[in-house]
């Protein structure tokens, strides 16, 4: 496939989504980007979705289903904001603390996985419950609020979000495409038994995967906390909702990944999702309509993805 065609296919979906959403807005007589706030809303949505998509895809691609991503974001943001408020630190130290706690919680979750050697989905159920309970106990149910702290709330600007997005992309590309860990990860992904027999240390690799996923969720927790200035507690799997926002971008990213780097594919998938979210905002769509549209988009794209040959041959026949 030539470079040009490859580039075209890579950009196809995000451009298509951008054009369609703009047309819909225009049809309703609303401009998509009226003020810089809309750009901020778009970029914040991209940052949120891309971090969850990367975190989930690290483990899901190697067949490890993970319910605990949401609870790691919750607990790491609770811990980091508690310390930040206690010592009056600024947003950057809070982000650093959030990343650190995310990493540690991810490593702990990975450690439990490699010691108990149970299916990852079961481990993540236990870990999600545990982290939610711990966050609730630490804040005694109140969660944390810092809406008066202008400095922390001030973090949410377009440049800051762009920096986080770019750092996440670079982090993923380097960690998974350039390092020895990345090489071993890809080998384990598609040939687990052969890779382990040859001598790749699977436990160490899995631990780093969970650590990296935790790190990313730490950043996501920080972003959602500094967006509203408050962290709501949730119990009984209240925190797993966020992972469902990552499925459509992950499948879009997987499709785009065939034509270029899959990390870039996930990012473009997240950008497409952000355009859709912005459309919901601009048209003030109520939440039940929003849910139906998102579900139909997910199923629609999956139907295309899993029946591509049939659809293309049908398409060729009719033309």
């Amino acid at each position: 496939m030539s470079k040009g065609k490859r580039l075209a296919c890579t950009a196809a979906i995000p451009l298509l989504v951008c054009v369609i959403t703009n047309l819909i807005c225009m049809a309703k007589g609303v401009a998509m980007f009226e003020s810089s706030l809309h750009v901020l809303t778009l970029i914040r949505a991209v940052a949120n979705v891309i971090l969850v998509t990367y975190a989930l895809s690290i483990n899901l691609n190697s067949g490890r289903f993970d319910f605990s991503v949401g609870s790691i974001a919750l607990l790491s943001s609770v811990l980091s904001s508690a310390i930040t408020l206690k010592y009056g630190l600024g947003p950057v130290p809070m982000l650093a603390l959030s990343l650190l706690f995310g990493l540690l919680l991810g490593l702990l979750s990975g450690f439990v996985y490699i010691t108990l050697k149970l299916p990852p989905m079961i481990i993540s159920l236990g870990v999600a419950l545990f982290y939610e309970g711990l966050a609730y106990s630490i804040t005694d149910g109140h969660g944390i609020s810092f809406i008066n702290n202008k400095e922390l709330l001030g973090f949410g600007t377009i440049p800051n979000y762009l920096i986080i997005i770019v750092c996440a992309l670079i982090f993923m590309v380097i960690l998974f495409d350039q390092t020895t860990f990345g090489y071993d990860y890809k080998a384990l992904l598609s040939g687990q038994r052969v890779a382990v027999n040859t001598g790749i240390k699977e436990k160490k690799n899995a631990l780093i995967c969970y650590g990296a996923a935790g790190l990313l969720m730490g950043a996501q927790g920080f972003i959602s906390a500094t967006t509203t200035g408050s962290i709501q507690m949730s119990l009984n799997f209240g925190s797993i909702g966020i992972m469902f926002t990552a499925f459509l971008p992950m499948f879009i990213g997987g499709y785009i990944g065939r034509f270029s780097n899959d990390k870039l594919g996930y990012l473009l998938g997240a950008v497409s999702m952000a355009f859709i979210s912005l459309t919901y905002v601009r048209l003030m769509v109520n939440s039940s309509v929003q849910q139906v549209v998102s579900a139909l988009l997910l199923v629609g794209f999956l139907i295309y993805l899993n029946n591509e040959q049939r659809i293309l041959s049908l398409f060729r026949k009719t033309h």
Binding site: F65, Y113, I114, E132, Q192, F247, L298
Partner: protein, 325 residues
């Protein structure tokens, strides 16, 4: 050590492992009784209460075992139950007949469950993603149903209409009847064996004449039946339905099945009774937590630790050289 002795030990160990969940249940029951006596609570009422709270999850989880045996996974059972209960209540509103309500609950639950499996098999989508999409669709459907019914945020069935059947005897009857159907289908019909075989090795199953989509449809239909009965029991237990009805059932079913020792990948080691053991154990655990009057955060942490411990002991055969997926 000669061959025979090792084989015996091997067989004994596997048998013991399959009893770990049951042992977990017995130990939890013993602890519950210890706390109950220490705090001098009304034990008969509490036991009735435990059954009342578990019966709905047992019915839905036992039905869901047919889906898990095939190695697939359904997170939208709770949402399905909510929609079916709302439809059942609306049907009662128009027909004033409990039988019609029961029929409506079961019919809508089975149809919803089948659309999920048909969607997955016709468009060959991965089942677990289809159920996630169904979850959003059903949540939206709930709001629309409530809106259409026009009675504020709830759809109600008059309490006296269901009070006659809101009894332990009726619930036990429904539970045991449904369990009998499931145990019969699972252990005495071709369906059960074929599903266990398909869950273990789909390629070999196909080459032994088993029809994957037929088995999937039967599995999702039986699970739908379970969800329909669960919806009916929910209405009888609490006849006021809202958008949050059966909110936690989706995850409770997964936890109960896994806690009962059922392998997540299904196959030959699937057991029909693991749902009942798991559901009862989880309810007992919550009762114990309540009696200790812990703050809800700590009690959820204790629940998480015990959940991982029991599943670790019942599932870990220790010989795995590569990490499970």
């Amino acid at each position: 050590m000669d061959n025979e002795k090792i084989l015996k030990r091997e067989k004994l160990r596997r048998m013991l492992f399959s009893f770990a969940p049951a042992a977990g249940l017995v130990i939890l029951f013993a602890l519950f009784m210890a706390f109950a006596i220490a705090q001098d609570i009304n034990i008969p009422y509490s036991l009735k209460n435990i059954l009342n709270q578990s019966v709905i999850v047992i019915v839905v989880a036992t039905g869901a075992i047919f889906i898990y045996t095939l190695g697939s996974f359904d997170i939208s059972l709770g949402a399905n139950m909510c929609v079916s209960a709302l439809i059942g209540a609306m049907v009662y509103g128009r027909t004033e007949s409990l039988v019609m309500m029961l029929g409506a609950c079961i019919a809508s639950a089975v149809i919803i469950s089948l659309t999920c499996s048909v969607l997955a098999s016709v468009f060959n989508l991965p089942v677990f993603v289809t159920t996630i999409a169904m979850l959003s669709l059903l949540n939206a459907a709930v709001l629309m149903l409530i809106g259409a019914n026009g009675t504020g945020d709830i759809i109600q069935v008059p309490a006296e209409a269901v009070s006659s059947i809101n009894t332990i005897q009726f619930k036990l009857f429904v539970l045991l009847a449904y369990l009998a159907v499931c145990v019969f289908a699972f252990s005495f019909l071709k369906l059960g064996r074929q599903e266990k075989f398909m869950g273990g090795n789909p390629v070999c199953a196909a080459l032994s004449g088993l029809n994957n989509s037929k088995l999937a449809i039967c599995a999702f239909a039986l699970a739908g039946l379970g969800v329909g009965l669960g919806a009916f029991l929910t209405i009888t237990y609490a006849p006021t339905l809202s958008r949050n009805t059966a909110g936690s059932v989706g995850m409770d079913v997964i936890i109960s099945i896994v806690f009962g020792g059922m392998p997540v990948s299904g196959g030959a080691r699937s057991r029909i009774y693991s749902a009942s053991i798991g559901a009862l154990s989880m309810t007992l655990l919550s009762q114990i937590m309540l009696m200790m009057n812990l703050n809800s955060g700590i009690s959820q942490m204790v629940k998480a630790v015990i959940f991982l411990l029991v599943v670790f002991i019942s599932m870990n055969d220790g010989r795995k050289t590569i990490l499970p997926r």
